[in-house]
């Protein structure tokens, strides 16, 4: 079985995120980059499926030069190979453009299963897996908290507010996973050393046969009209208890629409 995992490098979760003044996109240089947390679960699930059913795991990412670190991280966890789409003209791509680029790269490589994390911590759109599935014309089974592959079928438990739904699809298919699905492994020493030797295909837009007109900020269907820094923390409200502290707090919470 040939499994693709799509991973994204995002700014370290603790770091304060900034938008760039020039083009209102996320300033990716301002903070350390890490693998999007949910994508670690996706990599882990792909590795488990490959270990259980036999097969190969390929990590796919689109991102600037340093996103290569994230590919290497997945390789050090145990993935077999990587594909890194990197090109200046990709900068500023929205979810539609991203899904177009990823779908083309994936389509050219014939995977049985494509696994995503269900959202990234930077943009939090949660739509790329669905868009990619649509573009590939494949069934999408999303928000998986459990995945089983049996012959030509994938069966998942789809996390819901009330528990989960059992959902099945024919392979090839696109799956997105939630945090509950597993506990991602740490890379190992040997994995880290081996990662350097694993094949990584680095592709430009031209290499991937993409139409540059559909990519980047100019092609984006969404625009940031304006933005402002978060206001500094305002002074708190001090409630002095004169026997009515509880009532005052309740009033405050109601005013703020917390209750």
């Amino acid at each position: 079985m040939k499994i693709a995992v799509c991973v994204k490098q995002v700014p370290d979760t603790w770091a304060e995120k900034k938008l760039r003044d020039d083009d209102s996109t996320l300033d990716r240089e301002a903070a350390d980059g890490v693998m999007n947390e949910l994508d670690e679960y996706a990599v882990e699930e792909a590795l488990r499926l490959a270990e259980a059913n036999g097969g190969e795991v390929v990590v796919v990412t689109m991102g600037p030069e340093r996103a290569a670190e994230t590919v290497r991280k997945a390789l050090s966890m145990g993935a077999d190979a990587g594909v890194h789409l990197v090109d200046d003209s990709l900068h500023g791509s929205d979810a539609l453009a991203t899904s177009y680029a990823l779908a083309e790269v994936l389509a050219a490589r014939n995977f049985d299963l494509v696994i995503f994390g269900s959202e990234s911590t930077d943009a939090r759109m949660s739509v790329v897996p669905a868009m990619v599935a649509e573009r590939l014309g494949l069934p999408q089974v999303t928000f998986a908290q459990k995945v089983d592959v049996d012959g030509s079928k994938v069966a998942i438990q789809r996390q819901t507010e009330y528990g989960y739904d059992d959902v099945e699809a024919e392979l090839p298919a696109v799956v997105s996973v939630v945090e509950k699905i597993n506990e991602p492994r740490y890379p190992s020493f040997k994995g880290i050393m081996a990662a350097k030797k694993k094949p990584v295909e680095t592709l430009t837009v031209a290499d991937a046969g993409l139409d540059a007109a559909k990519l980047g900020a100019t092609a984006a269907w969404t625009k940031v009209a304006s933005f402002a820094a978060r206001p500094p923390k305002a002074a708190g409200t001090v409630v002095t208890d004169e026997g009515d502290g509880g009532a005052k707090i309740a009033t405050y919470l109601t005013e703020q629409k917390f209750v």
Binding site: F189, K190, I192
Partner: protein, 582 residues
């Protein structure tokens, strides 16, 4: 959040902007190990230390290991931490690939160790002792012994210990009395008591591999009559090897690491396997001594560093008091980091822990340069003379940083709800084990300074002089610091010569600890000057380095003057006094 255990930025600055680590990585010895790979390894160490070790550091302290007369039970969080550590492959760090290890410069494995020490010195202690044990067997064991004992220790299925001390023999190992008798089958039967054995018993591994110092019948008295044995807790058939736990010691700190009085061979004798030759055991044990002592110094730095980072974090968020000039009692209180006195404590701590880290990494790289450098002879001399300082300076001054951290936290620092008092207790051991502070002083002044007619001291002085010249060339504050160091270096050499002028050992060594502490401060001042020369950038980080250097030169280095005065006076105060005065 950036880690409160250790500063990755500082580590990388020292490794790559200050020291020539890059050159080492590029050398053939480490194949295709490169900076990128090392970065990934350090990421892994930081993450594992944070997730699996720091998570139960406090629990380890409050829920000590227990002994019910049969088995020892350690905190339930220890086993999963060690499992993750071994699964990731840390057990094979810097071990030969032939036994399943991963070759790695010593300076890198030292940094990796510091992440774990800072996170949880007790839990990581089990693995550190195991690695020391396995390293020793790699150096002196037979191929059969290596095959039998080392791979399970790399995988963490067996854990190891070092059994040197006895109740009556700690600093003075020549007085150990544990006996070993040769059997017709070539094995030995070991009988005796070993005290203070870290990791001596627990429920964490399939077997425990003790390395035990003992005497064979008729062995010469003193250090030349000590042999080294492998003594497992369990025999090959799984039965007891007659090693029994007489009791657990209840320690001030590092409580999660069991510390045991072990009785060997009370019944039919413990089966032991000789390592190397009879009567050579102490030499084998001490072969790794430089590294072991640098390891202790590194652990002390790690503990002090974590204390400093916690105090810094606290000081930024604790509002208390107003600026001394403030008149309005209703003005909001300021974070304590704005008070000059709190800044004093933070800057002193920064100078201690960052200076300590520089010292340990410098020495760590010397260990690597013994193998790969151009001038192994000078490197060896330098390493010999710096080792007692690398062990004792951080044990004293990074502990002082832990003390400052308690003070910065105020009353909260004195409670067990906050982590800083535990760090102080955990760190306090480092001046005691692996040769006490006083023993390090005797080693420095009694052996290292005089070895090869003072050759080691000369190499040290040359290196300092080279830094001084560069600093003079740089001008500005480094040049001023160079001047301050020049006079102390001169004084250090004069006092050393004066102490040994009449070759009277007793009076030369009468104040050896003062000597150790003075020379330690001179050495760290030298390293701060060298670091200052590398910290030329505009970022706050570099400004911080330069300021810490300024602190060290104006507030710390002058302290050595009164110490050298005391030494120069050679008044033999302690030697001559009559015990009745106490």
């Amino acid at each position: 959040m950036p880690s409160l255990l250790l500063s990755r930025r500082d580590v990388e600055f020292l490794l790559y902007e200050w020291l020539p680590t890059q050159k080492l990585l590029g050398s053939d010895a480490y194949g295709d190990l490169d900076r990128e790979t090392v970065d990934d390894l350090l990421d892994l160490a930081e993450r594992l230390a944070t997730d699996k070790f720091a998570n139960h550091n406090h629990r380890n302290d409050v829920e000590e290991p227990t002994f019910d007369g049969n088995t020892v039970t350690v905190n339930e969080a220890v086993a999963p931490a060690l499992a993750a550590y071994y699964e990731a492959g840390f057990g094979g760090l810097s071990m030969s690939a032939e036994v399943g290890g991963i070759e790695m410069p010593s300076v890198i494995s030292q940094v990796i160790g510091m992440w774990f020490s800072a996170a949880n010195v007790a839990t990581s202690g089990y693995s550190f002792l195991t690695r020391a044990n396995a390293n020793l067997l790699m150096a002196y064991g037979t191929p059969e012994q290596i095959e039998r004992w080392v791979p399970p220790m790399i995988e963490g299925r067996y854990l190891g210990t070092m059994c040197l001390s006895e109740p009556q023999a700690g600093s003075s190992l020549s007085d150990i009395t544990t006996r070993a008798e040769l059997q017709p089958d070539g094995t030995y039967r070991i009988r005796g008591n070993k005290m203070w054995i870290s990791g001596g018993d627990h429920d964490l591994s399939d077997n425990i591999v003790h390395l035990v110092l003992a005497r064979v019948p008729g062995a010469p008295a003193g250090v030349k009559g000590i042999s080294l044995f492998i003594v497992p807790k369990k025999r090959d058939d799984g039965s007891s090897n007659d090693v029994s736990l007489a009791g657990l010691n209840h320690k001030m700190g590092q409580r999660g690491l069991t510390n045991c009085l072990l009785n060997f061979g009370e019944n039919d004798g413990s089966v032991g396997y000789l390592v190397g030759e009879e009567n050579n055991g102490l030499a084998y044990m001490f072969h790794m001594m430089n590294e072991a002592r640098i390891g202790v110094g590194s652990a002390a730095v790690a503990q002090g560093y974590a204390g400093y980072l916690h105090a810094l974090d606290y000081a930024k968020t604790r509002p208390q008091g107003r600026p001394v000039g403030a008149k309005d009692p209703n003005a909001p209180m300021v974070p304590i980091i704005e008070h000059a006195d709190v800044r004093r404590m933070l800057l002193a701590s920064k100078a201690y822990v960052e200076g300590g880290l520089a010292l340990e990494l410098y020495c760590g790289l010397l260990v690597d340069e013994l193998e790969s450098g151009d001038d192994p002879e000078s490197t060896n001399l330098l390493l010999e003379i710096l080792t007692p300082i690398a062990k004792s300076w951080p044990s004293q001054w990074c502990l002082a940083a832990n003390d400052h951290a308690i003070q910065v936290y105020g009353g909260y620092g004195y409670t067990r709800e906050y982590p800083v008092e535990q760090m102080w207790r955990d760190n306090r051991l480092n001046a005691i084990h692996e040769g006490t502070h006083g023993i390090q002083a005797l080693d420095l002044l009694g052996r290292k300074v005089t070895m090869n007619s003072g050759a080691a001291l000369s190499v040290l002085a040359q290196r300092m002089q080279a830094t001084i010249e560069r600093a003079k060339g740089a001008g500005g504050s480094p040049a001023m610091h160079a001047e301050a160091l020049t006079s102390r270096l001169k004084r250090m050499l004069e006092v050393t010569a004066a102490l040994w002028a009449d070759r009277n050992v007793e009076s030369a060594l009468a104040d050896a600890t003062t000597y150790l502490e003075a020379v330690g401060h001179v050495v760290v001042a030298w390293l701060w000057l060298d670091v200052e020369l590398a910290a030329t950038g505009d970022e706050d980080f570099y400004a911080g380095k330069r300021l810490a250097a300024e602190y060290f030169f104006t507030r710390e280095l002058p302290k050595v003057d009164s110490m050298f005065d005391v030494l120069a006076a050679q008044d033999n105060l302690y030697v001559n006094l009559d015990e009745a005065v106490f």
